[in-house]
Symmetry: D2
Subunit: 127 residues, 4 copies
Amino acid sequence: MIDSTSVDIRVRYPECDAQSVAHHSVFPVWMEIARVELLRANGASYRECEERGVYFVVVRMELKYRRPAKYDDVITVHVKKTDHSRIKIEHSYEIKRGEEMLAEATTTLACVDKTGRPKAMPEGFIE
Amino acid sequence: MIDSTSVDIRVRYPECDAQSVAHHSVFPVWMEIARVELLRANGASYRECEERGVYFVVVRMELKYRRPAKYDDVITVHVKKTDHSRIKIEHSYEIKRGEEMLAEATTTLACVDKTGRPKAMPEGFIE
Amino acid sequence: MIDSTSVDIRVRYPECDAQSVAHHSVFPVWMEIARVELLRANGASYRECEERGVYFVVVRMELKYRRPAKYDDVITVHVKKTDHSRIKIEHSYEIKRGEEMLAEATTTLACVDKTGRPKAMPEGFIE
Amino acid sequence: MIDSTSVDIRVRYPECDAQSVAHHSVFPVWMEIARVELLRANGASYRECEERGVYFVVVRMELKYRRPAKYDDVITVHVKKTDHSRIKIEHSYEIKRGEEMLAEATTTLACVDKTGRPKAMPEGFIE
């Protein structure tokens, strides 16, 4: 089981606001991309999860913003699985530009079925 | 059958880019809001359409941008149904700030089922 | 000084994901809209702030998601200023559908100049 | 002068709507990414353009949507400069998934200064 990975993402023009820096609401989008890649690094696909009726929803999220990400910057999102139970997973994140820390974050996700009811994660999914 | 309506929308901060004006990709979002309100003005709900397996997809869209929409502006989207067949609807749009024209647009939508196959529009939907 | 306000927002189609519920990254956008309206209720305009070189940036944000917001729902964002210093403001938020709690959140914003350096808030801004 | 290029983009989760396909308003965002890469292939950077007071704004855009782009698909945006004057550039686009055409589009961009007034493109920019 691979517990961490990182992805490089180039900051898009419409992700930026009047200050020419990425809007704070975009960081959760980048964090999600990193989570999906962590899943893929473990041989799974979130798209296939949903096709099999397994959904993950964010139930808690905290972010601390240190420095702005500018338009056209290539930033790196580091994601690490920090804890899990049968129905929840916790991740931590570092969003960096090279060695420079831009933001730190944590999330808790719950596994649910199509109707939103808690569901035990499939075998082989978390360990 | 009501053929036209208008909605007021306040330009959101993350809809704007480094030029402090709404990004061009946001106008189609506003046009869609106006279409949904035109449907509602006729006693229908797009949400209920989808719940009954009736989807509308944009198959063609053209926009001409005249002037920028600035952050916090209240703009008005005027939408008018201009033509239809059993499986397609055409609309035209004017996006204005007061009397000032910001953009003009047209769209063609097709009615499809959940799998994306063309579907005749339900009775009472277009006339 | 008015310390709290609320705004009604209709959930937009592209704000929703494959589960037909608002993506978690949209809640911070709605919270920002409520903050801007709280400012307006106090006779100020965030757009004018920026025009005078006063910017607010989110430095910390925490959200707890209780229930999904569905497409076309009208949700209410309640915002309350909970604390402030000369350079920071804290707010708490409740995002509800009628009486039903969808999410709770807190944010800390810092006042900065155009280059991102901390700046004391203008007189009359926080009390 | 390189007149065309292509970029691969993976469809993001929040770019998709209730139909699990990319919302039509996302295609212009992808097209813009391809234009920026075409500029970069010619040794220029749009970020530096703006830093020097040269902005490009979309003044016309037309899209024809053939097939949906699904969540997690890797799509390719092909962009080609088709015409230009001293103040305008025209591009055409093909958005494909492998050999399959998803959408075709054209745009016209105008070169403006920070205040939005037409401006002649810098030397070396268009040929």
